[in-house]
Amino acid sequence: MSLRVLLVDDEAEFLETLCKRLARRDVEAFTADSGQAALDFLASGEVDVVVLDVKMPGMDGIETLKRIKALRPEQEVIMLTGHASMEAAIQGMQLGAFDYIMKPTDISQLLYKIEDARKKHGLKAGAGRRDGGGGR
């Protein structure tokens, strides 16, 4: 089962590049160019992991994160940002973000984080267990 990821960023160019690079690694990437668009997407569709830009015009990343968590408490979210801010980073983590990564980020690093986040999500949901024989 390929990974499903929602990328949320107001920078079209960044979204496009990341989408292409993730596709090459067998990741099904969807995009949203604003917090509201991300929420609209999640209201109907499901993804394993959301990758969320912190700084966006209108609804910012932290606010979007709060609303995503209200909508889906179990949704794993990775914050991605071009702005260093210790406070935003920790605020995001305290709100339940899986991780806070700063641009520029190495694509394998990001993918690795996405995999880890999905694994955690799967564990919490009780799915994703490769049952090698429980003897029942």
Binding site: K55, T81, G82, H83, A84, S85, M86, E87, A89, I90, M93, D99, Y100, M102, K103, P104, D116, K119, K120, L123, K124, G126, R129, R130, G132, G133, G134, G135, R136
Partner: protein, 861 residues
């Protein structure tokens, strides 16, 4: 881990999980958190290494680096705490409070509050004095000061202030976007900085000015035109950036100036000069000198354009020779630009410092070009043959220019660098003055010392990783076990097989460290850097190749160990000059590092090793690591499995071992109550099992009469050995496994041991932990046996801790095949040290047994 912790093995509470599936699910979750914990832990160490690197000051860095590294580090430390909390919910909640506290201490130095703001958008030069330096920048403040206090002639004009600049940067979040581009830039090559510089400058030039700023500039220009009474007024626009005087830095040629600008071009020129804050050389210069971007507000001076007959630069003394006191007047035809940018040969007039001033020497050059004003801007023109060889200053002019420079020097008490123009009416107008930089230009970094081996004598070893920089010499001293520590001589080169944290204390006495294994991120490497001791790790065969007592020179940067003392290298290895020391950026990192790097929780066995004593991020990480391993480990020891979950292991015949599959430890579905060893997919379990079965156990050793009596005595004296509780001590051996994980608990009669291992291709996550306790013989023999086992484990790279008869050993951070070998060794020891306590009597027997075991083990490796 303390003895108190391990005691729980013997009397700990059992969590009876009824359902094997639930147990598996819980394990899988814990196991995942533990892996994430280890990842975060590694990030912390890598980032701390980056900070140490920065503090050495040999490479320039900016606030963006400081912010990024501190933010990443906070995130990683928070994750360390979070995943530990997931392993033991609520148990270490205190760490969250410590984390918040420490983060609050770091934040102000890394993200200082907003710069001062407010004030007028425009100031007229005749109103400007040094008290306005924060509004107009030091360059314009100086000009205003010498005009209004000293009476020096300068052109009329005004300054577009720092407040105007701040409003421009706030318009449409321009600054926020600039910072984002900086943060997100992947700067690897010069080309990358070039792209970044160009994209930011274009952004600034194409952004609109706030309406009130544009109006203020145009109004000021109108006022200036009225007072000059020139209908077609042109101005010279010069940058005057804040923070230019923050460090002992010249800032020469940092930013743009625009000459001969008309009203139409005023706003565009202003934006261009502001944009030059992000010119390639300006970015590089700030980086190198540790000046914070946000301290640099670009103020711009606008002064009536002087169409100079001649112009130039005066140094109030010789910048290269402190003993030469003559004033140097450099001059050319036309605008001083010709002198400033070195585009033409110039005249030099040396003027005596003391009155009556006289010309000491004239060096008249062939001046082929001059700059003059055009309709808009300036142009370079040919100088007529007639004029080119002529002095461009009359003696009286040269003396006047020198007098002005000396007056300014006296006023400021510092040698000056003065740019001036000779107006058509013969007045000398000062356009700019600044303290003269008399130091030679710093090199960008330390010269790399690349030893030509032949020149420095015999090379004993080459390779490894530079874990801590520098060069040092001393006699070789190999440390294998704790006892060796006592005899460690001051100034020796510490040579170890494995860079264990326990050798850290020796680094205060050692001159350098050489380790066969270890990493940059290891605790020992960290301490070596902290103490400034050169360290080479991952240097294969160091222990066997370096004979004890031999004098060697360790060149960490050169990855070489030389024979004898190489004086030349030792002399060259002086610490490189720290270019950034004392700069605002460096200071910010230094202040942050005080709450990050120091490690005060050194000994996990100490009563002070507590969450509430964590004072730094390093402390939190160290403490959490200790606890996370313990929590992960405990899981295996606290669960009593329902028989149904466990399958009896079959290896030819059914064995007295049971297996619980936690996740993906079986290669196929296993039905019924037996599992064949072929169906096991757990890498670490298979290796352990190999070691356990490599050599058949010869059964209990022959019991000496005294040994047997000691067992009998213990059996009557120890309440745990009463028949009623015998069941607790029945042979019960459990493996809990997943593909990369094994936990073995076994009890053989009276003793108890546990092995835990995590082994995969991610070396940084690998570890093996081993505990061993109890026995039936008297304490003295049990202690002897524990020592015997500890000694064997030390031989095979384990870090060992002994407390009377209980032993704990660990091995971590090594690649997969190495871990697999060590699991085989451990398997062998688990089996063959059973009931050895009864045979622990005479030294000869012990030595003989030890030799035999070592022979067996070598076959396994």
């Amino acid at each position: 881990m303390s003895l108190r912790d391990w005691l729980s093995f013997l009397g700990g509470k059992k969590k009876a999980l009824v359902d094997a599936a639930a147990l598996r699910a819980e394990f899988a979750g814990r196991y995942h958190h533990f892996k994430l914990f280890l990842n975060a832990n590694n990030s912390v160490h890598e980032l701390m290494t980056d900070i140490e690197e920065g503090l050495r000051g040999t490479r320039p860095f900016g606030m963006h680096f400081v912010r990024a590294v501190c933010t990443r580090l906070s995130t990683a430390v928070f994750q360390v705490v979070k995943h530990l909390d997931a392993l033991a919910p609520g148990k270490y909640a205190e760490l969250f409070a410590r984390f918040d506290e420490i983060q609050k201490q770091i934040n102000p130095s890394v993200f200082p509050g907003k710069a001062r703001s407010g004030g007028p958008l425009i100031l007229r030069l005749r109103e400007v004095g040094r008290e306005h330096v924060d509004l107009v920048g030091p360059k314009m403040a100086h000009l205003g000061e010498i005009k209004n206090r000293l009476g020096v002639t300068i052109p009329r004009g005004f300054v577009i202030t720092a407040e105007a600049y701040r409003r421009f940067m706030a318009e449409n979040d321009l600054q926020v976007e600039i910072d984002r581009r900086f943060q997100a830039a992947e700067v690897v090559a010069t080309e990358d900085i070039f792209n970044l510089s160009s994209s930011i400058q274009q952004l600034i030039v194409s952004s609109p000015l706030p309406a009130e700023v544009e109006e203020a500039i145009l109004a000021a220009f109108d006022t200036l035109r009225d007072s000059e009474q020139i209908s077609d007024l042109h101005v010279a626009m010069r940058s005057s950036a804040l923070a230019e005087d923050l460090v002992d830095a010249s800032f020469a040629g940092q930013y743009r100036s625009k000459l001969n600008v008309s009203e139409e071009e005023l706003v565009a020129a202003y934006k261009l000069i502001v944009a030059s804050k992000y010119s390639l050389q300006a970015i590089a210069y700030r980086l190198q000198r540790g000046i914070r971007e946000e301290d640099v507000a670009m103020c711009v001076g606008c002064m009536s354009m002087v169409d100079a007959v001649a112009g130039g630069v005066t140094y109030s003394r010789n910048p290269l020779n402190a003993h030469d006191e003559a004033v140097q007047v450099h001059a050319a035809w036309g605008l001083p630009k010709a002198v400033v940018d070195g585009s033409t040969e110039v005249d030099l007039y040396l003027v005596s410092r003391t009155a009556p001033h006289r010309i000491l020497r004239r060096e008249i050059a062939e001046k082929h070009t001059r700059y003059a004003c055009l309709e808009e801007g300036t142009c370079r023109m040919e100088v007529t043959t007639l004029d080119s060889a002529r002095p461009c200053l009359a003696d009286a002019d040269a003396l006047e220019v020198a007098r002005v420079a000396l007056a300014i020097e006296e006023f400021y008490g510092l040698p000056q660098d003065v740019e001036w123009a000779l107006a058509p009416d013969g007045t000398v107008e000062v356009l700019q003055c600044r303290p003269l930089t008399t130091s030679e230009e710093d090199a960008l970094g330390a010269e790399e010392v690349v030893p030509e081996d032949a020149r420095f004598g015999m090379v004993l070893l080459k390779g490894g990783v530079e874990a801590s920089p520098g060069v040092a010499a001393g006699p070789v001293y190999v440390v294998r076990k704790d006892a060796d520590v006592l005899a460690f001589p001051r100034g020796a080169v510490l040579v170890v097989a494995h860079a264990l944290p326990r050798w850290a204390a020796l680094l205060t006495r050692a001159s350098a460290l050489v380790a066969e294994q270890g990493s940059l991120a290891g605790h020992l490497a960290t301490v070596a850097r902290e103490f400034g001791k050169p360290a080479l790790v991952g240097l294969k065969d160091a222990v066997s190749a370096l004979e004890p007592g031999r004098m060697v020179t360790v060149d960490a940067g050169g990855h070489t160990v030389f024979d004898g003392r190489v004086e030349e290298l030792l002399a060259r290895a002086r610490a490189p000059k720290n270019l950034m020391l004392g700069s605002p950026v460096y200071t910010a990192l230094e202040e942050a590092a005080r709450h990050i790097l120091p490690l005060s929780l050194l000994d996990p066995g100490s009563p002070d090793f507590r969450a509430r004593n964590c004072k730094t991020f390093h402390d939190i990480t160290r403490y959490s690591h200790e606890k996370a391993v313990w929590e992960m480990f405990r899981f295996g020891t606290e669960h009593d499995f329902p028989q149904a979950a466990a399958k009896q292991l079959v290896c030819g015949v059914p064995k007295q071992f049971w297996v619980v599959n936690l996740d993906d430890g079986f290669s196929e579905d296993v039905l019924g109550s037996f599992v064949n060893v072929e169906q096991i997919a757990s890498i670490p379990m298979l290796e352990l099992w190999k070691g356990m079965n490599a050599v058949p156990w010869e059964g209990p050793p022959p019991v000496h009469t005294r040994g047997f009596l000691s067992v009998m005595f213990e059996a009557t004296a120890n309440p745990e050995l009463e028949p009623a509780t015998q069941a607790e001590f029945a042979v019960k051996n459990y493996f809990m496994i997943s593909r990369h994980y094994v936990s073995l608990q076994s009890r053989f009669g009276f003793h108890f041991c546990t092995v835990e291992g995590l082994v995969s291709e991610r070396a940084s996550e690998n570890y093996i932990a081993f505990q061993f306790k109890g026995g039936a013989a008297n304490m003295e023999r049990r202690v002897l046996r524990a020592r015997f086992v500890a000694d064997m484990l030390t031989e095979f790279d384990f870090g060992v801790r002994l407390r009377e008869d209980s032993l704990t050993a660990r091995l971590e951070d090594r690649e997969q095949t190495f871990m697999e070998q060590r699991l085989r060794v451990l398997g062998y020891l688990v089996i063959h040290t059973r009931q050895l306590d009864m045979a622990m009597t005479d030294a000869a027997a012990i030595a003989e047994r030890r030799e035999r075991m070592l022979r067996d083990i070598r076959v396994l490796l």
